[in-house]
Amino acid sequence: MNDARPLRVAIADDALLLREGIAKVLEGGGIDVVASVGTGDELLEVVRRGGIDAAVLDIRMPPTYRDEGIAALEAMRAEGSTIGVLLLSMYATPEYALRVMGAGSGTGYLLKERVSEPQTLVRAIETVASGGSVVDPEVVEQLVKRTRADDPLSRLTERERSVLELMAQGYSNGGIAQTLFLGLKTVETHVRSILQKLDLEESPEHHRRVLAVLTLLGER
């Protein structure tokens, strides 16, 4: 992280109240809010002008109030922008999380209510701005709750399951170690064991790991 310069962030949400609130929260967390717009298209304009590190945007925006936020993310990636993008949603929808992860690295998907947890929000923006991935724990919880007769998760130990859930949320090995109060080596061992048990490949790109884990959880 470049500590000398605060992160420059653009916000897109059709609810003015929320937009201002998010700006306040981020500014309180030492983040520069350089643009605040109401639609995905306007955000794309801002991104094209350059000079921002990350964007926070609502999924449901005008004109159709469906998935404009994700469409804007996909448009940015298609135009070659690699800035961090954090999508906010009223619902924890795994299908959306998968689509967001599928758009590439530096993406995140959080429930809107996380704005009342400034640390979570700020950390998520920092993560996506640095090319990491963030998935709301609620989404992971939903996916893990899905039950199957021949559940591959049943092959995991309790500890491995906790590690897997954090992997799915986009935590790096270091982050997992910190969260679970484990040594980095221990976490790496757990991760290797999990990937082996679940028949997943370790990917050099962090977001691919998240995507793979989410996909596995979703298709399980």
Partner: protein, 597 residues
């Protein structure tokens, strides 16, 4: 019934043969026994003998066609009672018999009168008729007693009688008064009956009149000759042979006109029945007008049907009614036919004389009303059904729309507000913490936790009302997400290229949601399968489980709700759920059905 009917016919034939034989034999015997000087002309005697034969023949017919057996029995009685007039020379020497015969020798006339009274129904249909019949019978009994107790051998001008053994007193004046009085009562009654018949005939229908004119005519002729005979009898002169001949012919025509009238009425009923049958079979309008003309025996009949669209009457070929026909003068009348609710159906232009035949025209209007009402009801039911179908679809669409709107209102309103509120509380909590107001900060933080719990519940609620994923991602995304929420593991297979009409998507979604809820609640299954395929312009939904089975479309509101949803979009639902062998629910929803319109 066949043997009973055969037996009845045989019995009746035997009765007729017996009375005819008796009548002929008596007639011949009477003629032979009469001294040559006293004999009437052979032609008259023959005619006299033919009258009962006519009655006997008509009895045979009346037995078959009359509504009751009374007329036929009266005719048979007539044949028997016709005999006494001509057999005094045969029985005059039998002293105990002739007064009785003399007492009943005019009863045939009473029978003939009653026969006229029972026309055409076969029974005495009103009080007045019963009074007349009662008076005639009473007078006949009085006359019989008068003859028995008072008659002397002079009572029959044949010089052939023995003394009357029953005679109590020889009072020729009293006897003559009774004898002549009886005949006068008879004449008066006959005239009353004839007058009554005439009134009825004038009021009757034209076709009925054409046949039934015989009856009053015969009765009048008979009554007049009877009067003349009574007068000549009172004057003790011999009646004219011509007068007697007219009288015989008039009497003989009574049963004939009786049968003819009844037969005609039957024929008329049969033709109206034909019209009803044609009506019931839904014949076309041209054919109907033809049958009507046949029924009414009026070739000039025209039927003009009400044309709802153009607001006018037109014939079967669509030619509108012209002004001359609509307001006919002179020979024709117009009969408007309307439905019970007053809606116009048709105009029948007919010969004015038929106006008198209101009962027939009433029957015809009823038939027409029935026919049109049937057709109208059928098309009304079809139209109503279509309206119900459309309105049900609109209701379902409105329901889907309402759900979407509520979800969006929650999303943009309450949820947004609560999120903002949470954020502000957080800022306040942070500020409180910064100023070391720890108690306030803790209070605010626990409020945030509660608020987030409320948000969570609101989120679940909004999702249940309308899943936003369905709007944005269609069945392909929403169904797997739905299946993921089911506590029973579900294998999902969705193959629906692109997006389907919104109403179909939401119907399918909620059908699957309710089906999976049933699986979770009732089936006891450990596994379920959901398939959503588009096959041949149809969305095929299959929800299968390995549970206990025994589900039914009738039991439980869950299944009913599913059936209603599928029905509303013109789809079909099948449920296969043998006990112990799982449940398979199959719904087929047409994609190109009423929804595409």
């Amino acid at each position: 019934m066949a043997p009973g009917r055969k037996g009845r016919i045989a019995r009746r034939t035997a009765v007729i043969v017996v009375v005819v034989a008796l009548s002929l034999w008596m007639e011949v015997a009477g003629y032979v026994a009469t001294p040559t000087s006293e004999r009437l002309e052979v032609s008259y005697t023959t005619l006299h003998a033919i009258v009962p034969l006519v009655f006997a023949a008509c009895a045979g017919i009346a037995w078959r066609i009359s509504p009751t057996r009374v007329p036929a029995r009266l005719m048979i009685a007539f044949v028997v009672l016709w005999i006494p007039q001509s057999i005094y020379y045969v029985i005059g020497g039998i002293d105990w018999l002739w007064p009785i015969v003399r007492g009943v020798d005019l009863w045939w006339a009473v029978i003939a009168g009653i026969l006229v009274l029972v026309y055409p129904k076969g029974f005495l249909s009103d009080r007045f008729d019963r009074w007349i019949a009662g008076i005639a019978l009473g007078a006949s009994v009085v006359n019989l007693l008068g003859v028995l107790l008072l008659a002397s051998p002079d009572a029959v001008p044949c010089d052939c009688l023995s003394p009357n053994p029953y005679q109590v007193v020889d009072a020729p004046t009293v006897f003559a008064a009774i004898d002549v009085g009886y005949r006068l009562v008879g004449v008066i009654l006959a005239l009353v009956i004839a007058g009554r018949l005439l009134v009825r005939w004038v009021r009757a229908s034209v076709p009925a009149r054409t046949v039934a004119f015989l009856m009053p005519l015969a009765l009048f002729a008979w009554a007049i000759t009877l009067a003349a005979q009574a007068v000549t009898y009172a004057a003790a002169t011999t009646a004219d042979t011509v007068l007697n001949t007219v009288s015989l012919i008039a009497i003989a025509s009574i049963p004939v006109s009786f049968d003819a009238g009844v037969a005609h009425a039957r024929n008329m009923r049969a033709r109206v029945a034909d019209l009803m049958r044609i009506t019931r079979e839904g014949a076309d309008r041209g054919l109907w007008a033809e049958s009507l003309a046949r029924t009414l025996r009026d070739a000039s009949v025209r039927v003009y049907w009400w044309d709802e669209e153009r607001g006018r009457y037109a014939d079967a070929a669509g030619e509108p009614i012209d002004a001359a026909d609509a307001n006919p003068r002179g020979s024709h009348s117009i009969l408007p036919v309307a439905s019970p609710l007053g809606a116009p159906i048709a105009l029948i232009r007919h010969d004015r004389v038929l106006t008198d035949n209101m009962r027939l025209l009433d029957g015809v209007s009823s038939a027409l009303r029935l026919s049109v009402d049937n057709g109208r009801l059928r098309s009304e039911i079809e139209r109503t059904l279509e309206q119900v179908r459309q309105s049900r679809q609109r209701i379902v669409e409105a329901g889907v729309e309402a759900r979407r709107r509520i979800e969006r209102d929650l999303h943009d309103g309450a949820q947004q507000q609560l999120v903002s509120l949470g954020m502000r509380l957080r800022l306040a909590a942070n500020a409180a913490r910064d100023t070391d107001e720890l108690q306030l900060a803790t209070e605010l933080e626990s409020t945030i936790t509660m608020l987030n719990q409320a948000l969570r519940e609101l989120r679940e609620l909004a999702h249940g009302i309308h899943p936003s994923l369905l709007s944005s991602g269609g069945l392909a995304l929403a169904v797997p997400e739905l299946a993921g929420r089911c506590p029973v593991p579900v294998v999902v297979d969705v193959q629906a290229e692109g997006r389907l009409p919104e109403l179909i998507e939401s119907t399918a979604y909620f059908v699957l949601a309710e089906a999976l809820a049933n699986v979770a609640k009732h089936s006891g299954a450990s596994r379920a399968w959901v398939r959503a395929h588009v096959v041949d312009e149809e969305l095929l939904l299959v929800v299968r489980d390995n549970g206990t089975g025994g589900a039914s479309l009738d039991a439980g509101t869950g299944m009913l709700g599913i059936a209603d949803r599928v029905d509303a979009v013109g789809g079909t639902l099948e449920l296969e759920s043998p006990p112990g062998a799982g449940t398979t629910l199959t719904a087929r929803i047409p994609l190109g059905g009423p929804l595409s319109a």
